[in-house]
Structure formats: structure tokens, C-alpha cells
Symmetry: C2
Subunit: 123 residues, 2 copies
DNA sequence: AATGCTACCAGGAACTACTCCCAATAAATG
DNA sequence: CATTTATTGGGAGTAGTTCCTGGTAGCATT
């Protein structure tokens, strides 16, 4: 656990606004001004591999990162791009359903939402 | 409806293997050898806007296109990248559930699957 | 038929979000 | 303390897509 890796993790523990790699980079650079973007990307990959952080991928948007690893869902605002958490209980196991219907071994189910956040709706 | 736009649509009506823009381009070029990639992209956008085709977006992968617009789901093979259709009945309206829990106006629900196709599993 | 208008075109440059490479440095191990 | 191993910063490269420029096609109005 190098200073760089720790700084990346700290940033994600401190802020829960689902920053992009670039945003993490800008925040880490305040602590370690010489850090490189490649290092941030590398450490985000390593931390995700170790399940210390979660990767949030919305198509056509930069990846976002989240230090909260317990399962929950995300919604992205189509206007401002903000990503927020959604907590849902008792979501049926749709992956199992798919597994039964076909020839696929189902490895993951991706469930995400798009909408307009209250702030953008107010405008 | 120019010849180029018609050719793009024809390609998607003829093949249902969820081609990428690049694959559409290669197929259109057999009919219209001078067509440009930008034109294919533009017409895919226009056709999607008009709901004549559907866009399939898996994060980190090129977009794929589908002339079948009635709602169905997709699964991508993590090994070969092939995208296949999944037909599911009676999927609960998770978007409505989310709408009730929070401040968001839910505009779309994205439900996709990842797995290993039978062909890759056989190897 | 000439003019203006709009939509569309090809080709290439530009852009974004990564990803890869490499020499230099730091950490871990014996 | 020496050496192996992991990690670093910086810069170049990449894939997929978008943007820009100048030009053309089709159509309505004169």
C-alpha cells in the first residue's frame, strides 16, 4: 500500500459523489502534487480488483468509482450527469431467470437507472 | 431517405447479429463503396432518434445496433463479445419502484446481462 | 432555367477516456 | 546491504466516436 494508493482510497472514502478517474486525480494531486494520471488509473484498477472499491459504468460516460462496496444501485441524471445511490430491497434474481431460459452461463446482471435529479427538475 | 440511409437500415434488417457501427460500415460499403464512416454514424443516430433502430450500449464496448425495436433484453459474452437477445416476460417495473423511493424522475431502466455463450463454454 | 434553401455527403482532423510503455525509483526479501 | 519485485511519473499510443470543412443533391420559388 503505497502513499499513492492510499491517497486514492482516502479520496473515495472521504467523498461519496462517485467521482471519475479524472476527478480522483485532481483530488489526489492536492495531497501528492506529483502523482500521475496513469498511477491513479492503475490504483483504481488494483483497488477494484481487490473489491475495496466499486466501479460504476454507464455507457458513453467516463467510469466512476465508489468506496461503498455493499450492493446498491445507481441512477444517473441525464441533464447534469450526477450519479446517486438507489437502495432497493427484494429485487428478484433476474440473472437466474435468464440462466433458465437459455444457453448462457450468466455471470452478471447490470441494473441501472436514468432520470432527472431534483435539482435539474427544479430549474 | 437517401441511398446511404436506406443502405444502413437494410443492413440492420438483413442481419440480426447486433453489429457495431464499424461492422455496419463494412457491410454498407459493399453496396455503396464510397460511403464514409461518418455518414454511417450520422444515419445510425438519425434512425435511432426516429425509433427505427435500437442502440445497444454495453460499457467499455463499441455501441451495437438492432433493427428489432420491440422491447427485449441483451446478454453479452464476456469471452467473445457476442451479443444475443433475451426474452423475458413479466419483468417487474423496477423504474416505478425507484421513482417511489426518491427524488428522481425515472426516465429509463437499463437491464443487461453478462455471461458466457454456449460456444465459448464448449471450448 | 436560375436562385435560394435545406438536408446531406465524404474525408479527415480532433477529441475523450483510457491504456501501454519505459526508464527511474521505492519497497520487500533474503 | 544486495537484489529482486512492485510501483511510479511522464509521455506516446489507441479505439470509438464526433466535429469540421467544403461541397453536392433535391426541391420550391421566382
Amino acid at each position: 500500500m503505497t502513499a499513492q494508493r492510499k491517497a486514492v482510497l482516502d479520496v473515495l472514502h472521504r467523498w461519496h459523489d462517485h467521482p471519475t478517474a479524472d476527478e480522483v486525480f485532481l483530488r489526489v494531486r492536492k495531497l501528492l502534487p506529483k502523482v500521475s494520471l496513469a498511477t491513479v488509473y492503475r490504483n483504481l484498477d488494483v483497488l477494484a480488483e481487490q473489491d475495496e472499491i466499486q466501479v460504476i459504468e454507464f455507457p458513453g460516460q467516463p467510469r466512476r468509482y465508489d468506496a461503498v462496496t455493499r450492493p446498491h444501485y445507481h441512477i444517473v441524471c441525464v441533464e447534469c450527469g450526477r450519479v446517486e445511490d438507489i437502495h432497493l430491497d427484494r429485487v428478484p434474481d433476474l440473472g437466474a431467470l435468464v440462466q433458465r431460459t437459455g444457453a448462457y452461463e450468466v455471470l452478471a446482471t447490470r441494473l441501472e437507472f436514468e432520470g432527472r435529479c431534483s435539482r435539474c427538475r427544479a430549474r
